[in-house]
């Protein structure tokens, strides 16, 4: 028992010193830290959003919707191809992520298959002998498109959030088609959510002036046309819906800049600029259609439909509708950041205001301190000097935990604080086991030293077993839990591991040092 290799002593002391050193930064504020010499570690424990205040959003990229849209735009090509080849068909439509149709003339199925296969290599064409046909994206194409849509969405989401001025946002992919967004400091994310909820797909389309939208609804849609509603809250006297040419003159992806214009006579407006390709196309389109109406369409709603007075060649334009300053600057922001390739749905939101976060930190800290103090007193009452040894080890354990959490860059959440308090209570279990064992060995008439020795060695197996089972629960929680619960799993698991070190090795070192220094004749247990 008395023998303790020097390297072991150094190692234990070294680990304790490192624990103290790495946990130290957590006692200081950021400004105080800046004053400290550089050799002192500066890494603090990351506070979770539930403690520092902030917003957690789980977004889903609606890849299927993007695919349906893609199919909708392909359907015209299918129609053209079949007409050109003079193949009769019926029921051409998009259903369940596939273009469906029925070939009338069953002799020409092979012919149709050949023509349709040329439209898009990522579409598979299947036509059964009775003429029922189906075109859908191949699994590889679906995967690739999903990948692209999510990657692109992450980029757009990042740009939009950056534009709002949020500091240190976290934006990362989760699973196949989800995006996790963390916005520290944003307790009320309504604005961000409103921005993320818009696809911001901007198009310029010609208005079909041969008939009104109502007429088209009654008499059937002219080929190549679509009816789109006007934006809600539009200016008075505006039509409720427009009949538009489906073909897009210019789309928003050719914009290079968009800014709010507050000087416009029609109230707040958005001024935009095309890149050179977009400017040329916009110029051509306006020159050919002077006197006609062109619609500015955002997310399938018509913002406005002004008359083209003359060819617009400068590559700039202005959108005015019934904007407020806020909605105009939001639109400008969305146009600058670009359109989402697919609509986004918010699956889960957890937002905590900074006040509540501060309250939680306070409550958690008070609870932990009170818990630790109670445990410390308890151990002293029941084990005297040895209780103090356990208490000192407990303090080192606390430092080690904080140090490891800081080093790992782990995130501390409110349940995580609960985990710390809990492990403080559990950590002394190892000491209790050892001390009880020593008492027993003393009772059975062993000498002081051999009782100590036996107490430590024979309690070890039990301690290991009980720690491993808690660790199993912690690892599963980390693996399957989410958000704050993960924080709990981390502190619990780290605490279990550090307590194994502190309760066994540190306590043992303390007792050995005490034996060497004071040479006691009996154990005060």
């Amino acid at each position: 028992m008395l023998y303790f290799a020097n390297w072991k002593i150094l190692l234990i002391l070294g680990v304790c010193a490192l624990g103290v050193l790495f946990s130290l930064p957590n006692l200081f504020t950021a400004t105080q830290l800046a004053w400290l010499p550089s050799w002192i570690p500066h890494k603090q424990v990351n506070l979770g959003l539930d403690l520092r205040g902030g917003s957690y959003l789980l977004l889903q990229v609606d890849v299927a919707a993007a695919q349906t849209e893609q199919l909708n735009s392909t359907i015209d090509n299918v129609r053209d191809a079949l007409r050109e080849a003079k193949i009769g068909y019926t029921g051409l439509n998009v259903e369940n992520n596939a273009i469906v149709f029925s070939i009338r003339d069953t002799d020409r199925i092979e012919d149709a298959r050949g023509k349709l296969a040329k439209i898009d290599p990522s579409l598979s064409v299947a036509i059964s002998p009775d003429g029922a046909g189906k075109m859908q994206f191949t699994p590889q194409a679906t995967d690739m498109r999903r990948q692209q849509a999510v990657d692109q969405s992450i980029e757009i989401v990042r740009r939009r959030i950056d534009e709002t001025g949020t500091k240190e946002p976290t934006i990362q992919r989760q699973g196949a088609d989800r995006i996790l967004v963390e916005l520290p400091g944003v307790g009320n994310p309504e604005h961000v959510k409103a921005l993320l909820g818009k696809t911001a797909k901007l198009t310029f389309q010609l208005v079909d002036m041969t008939m009104s939208a109502e007429e088209a609804k009654r008499r059937g849609l002219p080929p190549g046309d679509e009816i789109l509603p006007a934006q809600e809250g539009g200016r008075p006297g505006q039509q409720p819906a427009y009949l538009l040419k489906r073909r897009v003159m210019v789309s928003g992806d050719t914009l290079t800049d968009a800014q709010v214009d507050l000087q416009s006579p029609e109230g707040p407006a958005v001024r935009f600029r095309f890149d050179s390709a977009g400017a040329r196309r916009f110029g051509d389109a306006t020159r050919e259609n002077v006197g006609k109406l062109f619609a500015i369409v955002l997310d399938n709603k018509v913002i406005s439909a002004p008359v083209i007075k003359e060819a617009i060649l400068g590559g700039t334009g202005i959108i005015s509708g019934s904007f407020t300053v806020q909605s105009a600057s939001d639109l400008a922001l969305l146009l600058r950041a670009g359109a989402l390739p697919a609509p986004i749905t918010i699956l889960e939101e957890r937002s905590v205001g900074p006040d509540l976060g501060a309250d939680s930190i306070h409550a958690g800290a008070v609870a932990s301190v009170v818990g630790v103090v109670l445990v410390v007193i308890f151990m002293f009452l029941f084990y005297g000097l040895f209780g103090l040894f356990a208490d000192i080890a407990l303090m080192f354990n606390l430092c080690l935990m904080l140090g490891v959490l800081s080093l790992l860059g782990a995130t501390l959440t409110l349940p995580g604080i609960a985990g710390i308090a809990l492990t403080m209570g559990m950590a002394v279990d190892a000491n209790v086991l050892i001390y009880e064992r020593i008492r027993e060995e003393m009772r059975s008439g062993r000498t002081m030293l051999s009782s100590l020795e036996a107490g430590f060695t024979r309690a070890f197996g039990t301690i290991l077993d009980s720690h491993v089972t808690t660790l199993v629960a912690g690892i599963l929680l980390y693996w399957l839990g989410s958000g704050p619960v993960k924080g709990f799993a981390v502190t619990l698991s780290v605490g279990v591991l550090t307590s194994l070190f502190s309760a066994i090795l540190v306590t043992r070192l303390e007792i050995v040092s005490w034996l060497r220094r004071w040479k006691p004749r009996e154990i005060p247990l």
Partner: protein
């Protein structure tokens, strides 16, 4: 020299086995009631699992719950539940999941905020859509089952299989009755509660392991002692440790319950119950079960001594009675 102020000097001689049938009956009753309640009225699932909306608001001055409820009810977005949360000016508003899938949830929050008007500080808001809720339920159930299975395997690996069975039954007992507690008192069952349950599973096994360790040791030491006495001896020898450990953990959890704030309340209640019931089940369920499915003494004796047998002592195997 600083001596302890409170010492339990003697090993008690309590006949635990005398009570084990009462314990079994009590636990079977408790378990049956828990399962029955769970099946009949289910759990008061929080929005983590059920999906829905939660808003924690702070009003200027004491909150007028009736007026707030009136404003929210007028929106027609389902039955709102309002309650004070820790302080008279803090209100927790819960709304059921909105029909219309994941997309419909967010707009309800905005509607509530508009309805309540100015002068309300929103401290927390959570929205869980239907798809995430069901995923979280699945993950939670999976985690619990896996935790139990992993613990069983570990105990099996370290002990005879009979110990594994006993430990698993008593851990399932603890988990089931904790769920029962939440069902009876309609306490909100959410992600942190689930974390507490998994921690209980990991923790309650501690006592059991300690006692089993001692049973196994006694089996090697006293080859001829009747099994009933062996179990009693192990329980009595570990009793002071059991009480002390439970006390320290309970102290930590109690301070969480009292000072940790409203958010941790459910977690702390679950933990506290789990600690108490876990200790009870180690004494009156896990240990007596071993009496009925006795591990073979020969197999136990043959196993290498892993509980500190580095210094073999003469006389340890037989009659080292203290």
């Amino acid at each position: 020299m600083i001596r302890p102020l409170i010492v339990i000097r003697r090993v008690p001689k309590i006949d635990f086995m005398r009570w084990h049938l009462i314990g079994f009956a009590f636990s079977i009753l408790l378990g049956a009631v828990s399962i029955g309640l769970f099946a009949a009225i289910g759990l008061n699932l929080g929005i983590d699992f059920k999906g829905g909306l939660l808003i924690e608001a702070k009003t200027q001055g004491p909150a007028d719950l009736a007026a707030m409820r009136g404003k929210i009810d007028a929106l027609n977005i389902g039955e709102a539940s309002l309650q004070n949360f820790g302080a008279p000016d803090e209100v927790l508003i819960r709304l059921p999941q909105q029909s219309g899938g994941d997309k419909a949830q967010e707009s309800a929050i905005t509607a509530v905020k508009n309805a309540l008007g100015e002068g309300v500080d929103y401290r927390r808001q959570e929205v869980v859509g239907p798809s995430v809720g069901s995923e979280l339920i699945r993950a939670g159930a999976l985690a619990t089952v896996l935790a139990l299975a992993a613990i069983l395997v570990y105990i099996w690996f370290r002990f005879e299989w009979q110990f594994g069975v006993g430990a698993t039954i008593s851990t399932i007992h603890d988990v089931v009755t904790t769920i029962g507690l939440f069902a009876i008192f309609r306490l909100e069952f959410n992600l942190t509660t689930l974390a507490a349950i998994l921690t209980i599973a990991g923790y309650s096994i501690n006592d059991t392991v300690v006692i089993y360790d001692r049973v196994r040791e006694a089996m090697r030491k006293y080859r001829t002692m009747p099994f009933r006495d062996l179990i009693n001896l192990a329980l009595n020898e570990t009793l002071s440790r059991t009480i002390l450990t439970v006390s320290t953990v309970a102290l930590a959890v109690l301070s969480l319950l009292v000072f940790g704030g409203e958010v941790l309340k459910g977690f702390s209640i679950a933990m506290l119950w789990g600690i108490v019931i876990g200790t009870y089940s180690s004494l009156f369920i896990a240990a007596p079960i071993i009496y009925y499915i006795q591990p073979s003494r020969r197999a136990t004796a043959r196993e290498p001594a892993d509980d500190g047998g580095e210094t073999p002592r003469p006389g340890r195997a037989k009659g080292a009675r203290s």
